[in-house]
């Protein structure tokens, strides 16, 4: 169950460290916070809405053995089994997980496409301090926050580092907010502890500039057709049922009746009704290819005529008598 891997990371050497191996990597099984036995609700919340993971204590030992002067421990989390190699970075909340396991925030699980208990690769990394970050809120709720900067200052303390394209989730006022990290400087992954960051927000997803200064609603050269009228109440359609076969085959379609039926489905043009509460001074203009009622009726009649006389009135034949009328 536990497979420990220790590797010398070829090529990852810190400058000025005398060439000693400065990186450490291992493979762990990832679980989300709810699986953490020692956790109460508060801790789960802390893990879920933060950028730090709970790792086993042995990692701390190994890190100490490495003996580098890192002030913060940052790890690169990778999903080795994923089709596309995906990775992100996280900090450490506690070294209190069981050996061989780690507990990750939900957003990392989603980011890496992990199921509960999947293997991940963990590598210790060193990241430069952030100078610039650009976040894009994923919902319009963000606009309702009075002071988003202050909110993020508090909430981002739960993060140790950010990676480009992370979709992080913070909670403000019991309301989860998603943010996508759009841009980072100086690198695509940065440490955000004890640093001055130029923070920028992009317009939230789905946000539209108020279109007051835009010319016209549509720029198409074709007038949109009339909106479909609500389908007429189910009119009586004679012989409208479908056929059945005993051998289970589907009966041949395209009978005369079903064709006629389709044409009959065309909605009736409603009778004009009086808008009694109109106040003068109010004008509304139609914004589709409108034709007046008379033309609509005429066109409809022509269409019906072209389609052949539909079976409109079933059973309307008159009676006949054999006896001749007397005049």
């Amino acid at each position: 169950m536990q497979h420990w891997l220790r590797e010398n990371m070829a090529g990852v050497f810190m400058p000025g460290m005398g060439g000693g191996p400065s990186s450490y990597g291992c493979q762990l099984r990832a679980f989300s916070a709810v699986y953490f036995v020692q956790a109460d609700t508060k801790k789960i919340q802390e893990i879920q809405h933060g950028g730090k993971a709970i790792l086993p204590a042995s990692i701390l030992d190994h890190m100490l053995q490495l003996n580098n002067q890192q002030s913060v421990m940052l790890f690169k989390v990778m999903n080795p089994s994923s089709d596309r190699q995906r990775a992100t970075h996280c900090g450490v909340l506690e070294f209190s997980a069981e050996e061989g396991r780690c507990y990750l925030p939900q957003w990392i699980m989603l980011q890496l496409g992990l199921e509960e208990g999947d293997d991940i690769r963990l590598e210790s990394v060193q990241l430069p301090k952030a100078t610039y970050a650009k976040l894009k809120p994923q919902s319009l709720d963000f606009l309702h926050i009075t002071n988003p900067r202050a909110m993020l200052e508090v909430e981002l303390r739960k993060w140790a580092c950010l990676t480009k394209n992370d979709r992080i989730r913070v909670v403000y006022n019991d309301q989860p907010l998603e943010l996508v990290v759009q841009d980072l400087k100086p690198q695509n992954a940065v440490c955000i502890i004890e640093c001055d960051v130029n923070l920028e927000f992009d317009a939230p997803e789905g946000y539209q500039e108020p279109s007051y200064n835009e010319q016209g609603p549509s720029s198409s050269t074709v007038k949109p057709p009339a909106p479909l009228l609500p389908a007429a109440a189910q009119a009586f359609t004679p012989f409208g049922g479908g056929g059945m076969r005993l051998d289970g085959k589907t009966p041949s379609s395209g009978s005369l009746i079903s064709q006629n039926q389709e044409k009959l489905q065309e909605a009736e043009i409603p009778a004009p009704f009086c808008i009694t509460d109109y106040q003068p001074g109010q004008l509304g203009f139609v914004r589709y290819d409108y034709r007046c009622r008379e033309v609509q009726v005429k066109e409809k009649n022509e269409r019906e005529k072209a389609a052949g006389e539909p079976i409109r009135n079933a059973f309307t034949g008159s009676g006949a008598t054999i006896r001749k009328h007397r005049y």
Binding site: S211, Y212, N213, E214, Q215, G216, P217, S218, S219, S220, T221, K223, P270, P272, F273, C274, I275, T276, Y278, P280, G281, Q282, L283, G284, F285, V286, R287, Y290, R291, C292, R293, E294, V295
Partner: protein
């Protein structure tokens, strides 16, 4: 003392002018038929009446002019008031003052009940042509739509003139457009209550002008690059919707036509309707209309309602209150077999209510009001576009003119209206009238004197300079924005800048 009649009781100058005219259409000698000498006349060259149907048809005039119509009615001999005052306002309401019985819901008789109305094409029109004096003010009006994509309503300011192309014709000469407060959107517009309405009428009166109609845009851009607009109003859809007809009727009732040929002293209205919409070539074009006096009467009685189809109106079925009487309205039309049938006005195609009036730009543009390419004075009620009158706008506008050019500066309808309606400095009517007079009669000296001597004008200029320096909004706002840097003088309540220790208005100390 001369008591001047208010504008609503005064005959228009053009009516006075036309009523004195002979009105006969002179015909030249017919080279084929006339065999007499030049001083004689025969039936082929005698002048004809202005209402001659054949003559109008040959000139392609659909409706005779109002004065020609009056001539036709008064041509009979006699001195009775029926002959001299033949016009009678169409009555659609029930007469509640009938003394033969209890008032309407309790009793009704044939005298107080309005007759059944049969709609027919109005044979005359009050205005025979609408002419825009120049393109500039029309473009200014359309600019609202160009900048915002929203529709707009404006009132046409101008005067009525005689129109020689039609015998005894009247032309509505438009010189400016006033834009009242309104709620706009890209497919609708709603007029709001206008607190400046009276002031607009007054300023117009002082300038020798009048509110002569209204204009609205129904523009729907088709191709932004080419600047084309959809043609929404054509023979297959509608020319004027029922809502527009009712609104036009409502406005016409507010602007009655004063005439001596009616017992009531007024008959119909010269108020015109102009639609700015796309034509077949997808260009913005202007179409003028009036609604018939029958429609205006129906609108006044509040029995005309729109339907969900723009081209169909509907005669109300249930009275709004028990004293409302709903008269029967019928119209005759040809049915599909070509036979004349009478139909009930439920529904009622609005084409029976329309009188079309040709509208167009004047060939030789004239400029009653000046328009500048740079730093224009903003049009009123355009705060939504960020065009705010006064403050910076006023300062920039004024800076283009020297004192010598004050007349040119004041020759701007929106500027004059701003002086009359601004919240900061109240000019008295006499002061405004003086200025308007100098604009009307192009009196340069008088305008300069006004600018030199009027204290309030100097105050307004100073205030707007100060506003510009502060970069604050032109309209004094009560929001919290600039409040912190001001203090109210305890003696005269003047808002002072924070840096001052004594009031700049009354000079008393701050504490």
């Amino acid at each position: 003392m001369v008591v001047q009649a208010s504008q609503n009781e005064k005959l228009d100058d053009v009516d006075v002018e036309l009523s004195t005219q002979e009105g006969q259409v002179q015909r030249p000698r017919d080279p084929k038929m006339c065999h007499h000498n030049a001083r004689q006349k025969c039936s082929h060259c005698l002048p004809i009446d202005p209402y001659d149907e054949e003559y109008l048809k040959s000139k392609d005039i659909k409706h005779m002019s109002f004065h020609a119509y009056v001539r036709k009615l008064t041509q009979g001999h006699g001195k009775g008031s029926k002959v001299r005052k033949p016009l009678e306002t169409i009555r659609v309401k029930v007469d509640l003052t009938c003394d033969a019985h209890k008032p309407f819901p309790k009793g009704v008789c044939t005298r107080c009940r309005p007759p059944i109305m049969t709609l027919n094409r109005q044979r005359f029109r009050h205005v025979d042509n609408i002419s825009m004096e120049n393109q500039d003010f029309v473009n200014d009006f359309l600019n609202f739509w160009r900048k915002s994509g929203h529709q707009r309503v404006g009132f046409l300011i101008g005067r009525y003139e005689s129109f020689p192309d039609v015998p005894l014709g009247i032309k509505a000469q438009v010189v400016a457009i006033y834009e009242p407060p309104q709620a706009t959107s890209d497919n609708g517009v709603k007029l709001l209550d206008d607190k400046n309405k009276e002031m607009v009428d007054k300023v117009c009166d002082w300038l020798g002008l009048k509110v002569i109609g209204w204009i609205f845009t129904d523009l729907w851009s088709a191709d932004l690059k080419k600047g084309t607009v959809h043609c929404t109003r054509n023979a297959n859809s509608y020319l004027l919707s029922a809502e527009e007809c009712i609104t036009a009727g409502w406005l016409q009732n507010q602007h009655p036509n004063i005439t001596q040929f009616s017992l009531d002293g007024q008959y119909g209205s010269k108020f015109v309707t102009v639609v700015a919409s796309g034509d077949e070539n997808q260009e913005v074009s202007f179409h003028g209309y009036q609604v018939s006096n029958q429609c205006a009467a129906l609108a006044e009685a509040n029995v005309l309602c729109p339907t969900q189809f723009p081209e169909l109106a509907y005669i109300r079925e249930k009275p709004l209150d028990e004293s409302q009487y709903i008269t029967d309205v019928q119209f005759t039309m040809k049915n599909e077999y070509g036979a004349e049938v009478t139909k009930d006005g439920r529904p009622l195609p609005v084409e029976f209510l329309l009188v079309d009036v040709p509208a167009g730009m004047r060939k030789d543009p004239a400029h009653t009001f000046h328009r500048l390419q740079t730093h224009q004075f903003h049009v009123e009620n355009r705060e939504t576009l960020g065009e705010i009158q006064g403050g910076q706008n006023l300062t920039e506008y004024c800076d283009q003119f020297s004192l010598n050019q004050f007349l040119e500066q004041a020759t701007n309808f929106h500027f004059l209206l701003y002086l009359a309606t601004n919240d900061m400095v109240k000019f008295t009517d006499e002061e405004l009238q003086q200025l308007c007079d100098s604009v009307r009669y192009v009196a340069r000296e008088q305008a300069m004197d006004w600018a030199r001597e009027n204290e309030k004008w100097h105050t307004l200029v100073a205030l707007s300079h100060q506003q510009q320096a502060q970069g604050g909004p032109a309209i004094p706002t009560t929001s919290s924005g600039g409040q912190s840097s001001k203090w109210d003088c305890p003696h005269c309540t003047y808002h002072n800048d924070d840096v001052l220790t004594e009031c700049s208005m009354c000079g008393l100390p701050r504490e």
